[in-house]
Subunit: 179 residues, 2 copies
C-alpha cells in the first residue's frame, strides 16, 4: 500500500488524548481485563474524544467490511475481517466469546481497524483504539441481528444466541490515505 497523502492524528490533532501504553508496566490502572458481564475492560480517563477525519467518515458509516488487528496472549498479531457499526463516538463489533478474538481483547484491549474503499483501493481509514467494554448481546443476539440488517446479511437468527458479545472500541488515533 502506498503512503501518499497519509496523515496520522496521533500527534497532530490530539496529543493530549494520546493513550500511551507499554506492555510491560504503565498500562496498569488504565484498564483491567474482566469477564463478559462485568463490562469494563478499559476506560479513558482524560475525557478526550478522538476525531475521525470528516473526509473518511463514510468508511465507518457504509456497510463495508473492516479488518481488525488484535494481539494474542502470546504477543503475536492476529487479523480478521469484521462487521462493525459506528455511532459517531465508538465503534462496535460482535463476536462469540468463544472466539480467539475475545481472548485477545481480554488480554490486551488495544485493537486497530482498517477499512478500504472498495471503489478506490488506495483510499483507506485506520482507526486504532481500546476495547473499553464487552457486554453480553441481549435477547438471543439482538446486536448481532442489528449488524446483520446493516450489512444486509444472510442470517435469520444470531449465530451466538447465548455467547454473543458486544465489543465497544473507543478510538484513540487514526490514520488515512486518499481524499
Amino acid at each position: 500500500m502506498v503512503p501518499r497523502k497519509r496523515t496520522d492524528t496521533d500527534q497532530a490533532d490530539s496529543p493530549v488524548c494520546r493513550t500511551r501504553v507499554n506492555n510491560r508496566a504503565p498500562i496498569a490502572g488504565r484498564w483491567l481485563p474482566v469477564e463478559v458481564g462485568n463490562s469494563i475492560l478499559a476506560r479513558r480517563v482524560d475525557g478526550c474524544v478522538t476525531v475521525i477525519p470528516e473526509s473518511h467518515t463514510d468508511l465507518l458509516t457504509r456497510p463495508l467490511f473492516g479488518h481488525l488487528a488484535t494481539i494474542r496472549p502470546d504477543g503475536t498479531a492476529q487479523s480478521n475481517p469484521v462487521w462493525y457499526i459506528w455511532d459517531g463516538e465508538v465503534v462496535q463489533f460482535t463476536f462469540s466469546t468463544k472466539q480467539q478474538k475475545h481472548r485477545n481483547v481480554l488480554t490486551n484491549p488495544h485493537v486497530a481497524l482498517s477499512i478500504q474503499d472498495p471503489e478506490d483501493p488506495y483510499r483507506y481509514l485506520e482507526v486504532r483504539g481500546i476495547v473499553e467494554t464487552v457486554d453480553p448481546d441481549p435477547n438471543g443476539g439482538e446486536f448481532f441481528m442489528k449488524l446483520n440488517t446493516h450489512y444486509n446479511g444472510p442470517f435469520t437468527e444470531s449465530l451466538y444466541p447465548t455467547e454473543g458479545g458486544i465489543y465497544t472500541m473507543r478510538p484513540t488515533s487514526t490514520s488515512k490515505q486518499g481524499q
Copy 2:
C-alpha cells in the same frame, strides 16, 4: 465476521512447526531485530513449512489487497492495507523503511495478513507469520514495480527509489472461513 467453518492450522496441521512466542522472554534466540541490509530478522529453526489450505491459495495468488496487522513498539495494534506477493513458500510486501510498519516489524516481526474474497465477503484467509528478512529494494525500486505490475497499479516508478524494503514473511499458521 461469522466464524462458520472456520479452521485453524495452528495445532491441527503442524503442531511441531509452531513458533510459540511470549513477548517477555523465550523469543530471544529465535529472532533478532536488525537494520535493513543485514537482512535477518528472524529465522525458523525447525525447517518446517506451514501449508496454506489449497481451497484458499487463490486468495494469495490473485492481486487482492490484504490487511496487515503489526504490533507497534508500545505494544498496541496497527492495521494497514497492503500489496503482497506469494511464491508458494513466503509472502512478501514492500514498504518504505520510513514508515511505522517498518519500525513495528523491527521491534516485533510477528505479523498477520487477512485477505477477503471480494466475490464472497464471508470467505477469507488469515496467514500469521514472522517477517524473517528485510532487504533493500534494488535498482531504484525493482520489487515495488514488480508488485505494481502484479496489481496493475498506477505507478511508473517506485515511490521508494532509495528507502524501499522487501519484507519477507514466513507463514507459521493460518485460519480460514468459507469454502
